[in-house]
């Protein structure tokens, strides 16, 4: 069996599911903060394996979903300018802005191209020097190195017609804010495996040491997720808090030093606006002054200044992202909000809680 298949072995899944039944009756709410976990949990039906009294809820782990409406509207506005080519990841296409979406803009003739990697956007700029290519920089720390690399390559190779609208966010600061709010009682956190390959599990020490919430870094196969849940429940039983690494084949305590260098060179820390969480100090990045020529906010400052503030809507994505309501508790879910006609991003992102519920848990 291939390694990834082994971590999906039904016999192992059954065994761990059976073992964790000993925690039945423990009242615990575990939050996962990674869109890939949201999808994996739904796809593999893992909630049905949890012991009674233990629930698993979704938090602000989907980078597309936590992108503020203001950033979406501003990026869309750039696409309406002549000579601009918008390049973005695929699941941004159907996210509704205040007046339009990337998909609709493209249907109306705007040049919008889906790319798999930010380097692909640099190659478009290289090949089409008459176009102004603007990449939508959305993603947490897993994506930031790839975008930083693209910006550095564009700068080094003088591809002046490439810029990034930077809406990247960093997770640890947001987790701190989430855990210190009174809205919800979170017993433990399932931490994102791939973000942690970049930042190292040590980045979360403050959550166990200062906030007193226990966490486990998890991979993405069913065995990985259940082992992490087991680690959290074990700590809760012992009334201790720690950052357990349940993904040792990929994650270390230390960060990836090359990623840290790249990110440190290309980006500077700033405050960021999160859908549902508001402004979180130090949770975003902007392009460093050395790379200002590739910062879409600088390059298109005049055009962006005219973009009106987002219109208020009845979208409840913010509450879904804070774990206050489940997708099916939103009045729009499955009725006025569907994957093809969404009210908000959680229903159309490839990592959105509502998209996962709609696809795997029935409308």
């Amino acid at each position: 069996m291939r390694l990834s298949d082994e971590f999906r072995d039904p016999a192992l899944v059954r065994d761990i599911a059976h073992r964790i039944q000993r925690f039945a009756g423990m009242q615990a709410t575990i939050m996962e903060v990674c869109g890939t976990h949201t999808m994996a949990v739904a796809r593999f039906g893992l909630k049905s394996l949890l012991p009674a009294g233990v629930s698993l809820i979704s938090g602000p782990g989907c980078p597309v979903c936590v992108t503020d409406q203001r950033d979406i509207d501003r990026y869309l506005a750039l696409g309406m300018q002549p000579g601009v080519t918008l390049a973005c990841f695929g699941d941004m296409m159907r996210v509704p802005g205040s007046v339009t979406s990337l998909e609709r803009l493209r249907a109306q003739g705007a040049d919008v191209r889906v790319v798999y990697s930010p380097m692909d956007a640099v190659e478009i700029a290289r090949a089409e020097s008459q176009r102004e290519v603007v990449f939508f920089g959305v993603g947490f720390e897993t994506t930031m190195p790839a975008v930083a690399l693209a910006i550095k390559v564009a700068s080094d190779e003088r591809i002046g017609n490439f810029s990034v609208y930077c809406a990247h966010k960093t997770l640890p600061a947001a987790l701190g804010v989430l855990l210190s709010s009174d809205e919800i009682n979170i017993s433990g956190l399932l931490l994102p495996g791939h973000v942690t390959t970049i930042i190292g599990s040590g980045a979360y020490d403050f959550i166990a040491d200062k906030i007193g919430v226990t966490c486990a870094v998890a991979g993405f196969e069913p065995v990985d997720i259940l082992l992490a849940v087991e680690a959290i429940l074990t700590r809760l039983e012992q009334a201790t808090a720690a950052i357990d690494n349940a993904y040792p084949r990929a994650v270390r305590v230390e960060p990836n030093s090359r990623a840290a260098e790249l990110i440190g060179e290309v980006f500077v820390t700033c405050d960021a606006l999160w859908r549902g969480l508001g402004c979180i100090p130090g949770s975003g990045v902007a392009l460093a002054p050395k790379y200002a020529a590739h910062d879409a906010c600088e390059r298109f400052a005049a055009g962006l200044a005219d973009v009106p503030p987002p219109k208020p809507t009845t979208c409840r994505c913010g509450e879904v992202l804070r774990g206050l309501i489940r997708p099916f508790e939103c009045p729009h879910f499955g009725r006025t909000c569907t994957p093809t006609a969404p009210v908000g991003p959680c229903m159309v992102s490839s990592e959105g809680a509502c998209a996962a519920a709609h696809r795997y848990e029935g409308a």
């Binding site: 082994e6 798999y116 990697s117 380097m119 993603g139 990623a259």
Partner: protein, 67 residues
């Protein structure tokens, strides 16, 4: 995905018949034959085979003991 070729900062990796070119700038000492995790065209980690095998052996040991 498994690395099949490395050419400076760019590697070729394959999985299930799919072949991709990925940047490996983040990975010191990546070698042909390594399994890597990839995100947005960039390899972000090398999967530690030995660690994986030892986790599985431990789990299977527990499983066998429980039978």
């Amino acid at each position: 995905m498994r690395v099949t070729q490395i050419d400076g900062p760019v590697a070729t990796a394959e999985f299930d018949g799919i072949t991709r070119r990925v940047r490996v700038d983040l990975l010191d000492g990546v070698r042909v034959g390594d399994y890597v995790l990839i995100h947005a065209g960039l390899a972000i980690a090398i999967v530690d085979d030995e660690e994986a095998k030892s986790t599985l052996a431990l789990l299977r040991g527990v499983y066998d003991a429980a039978q």
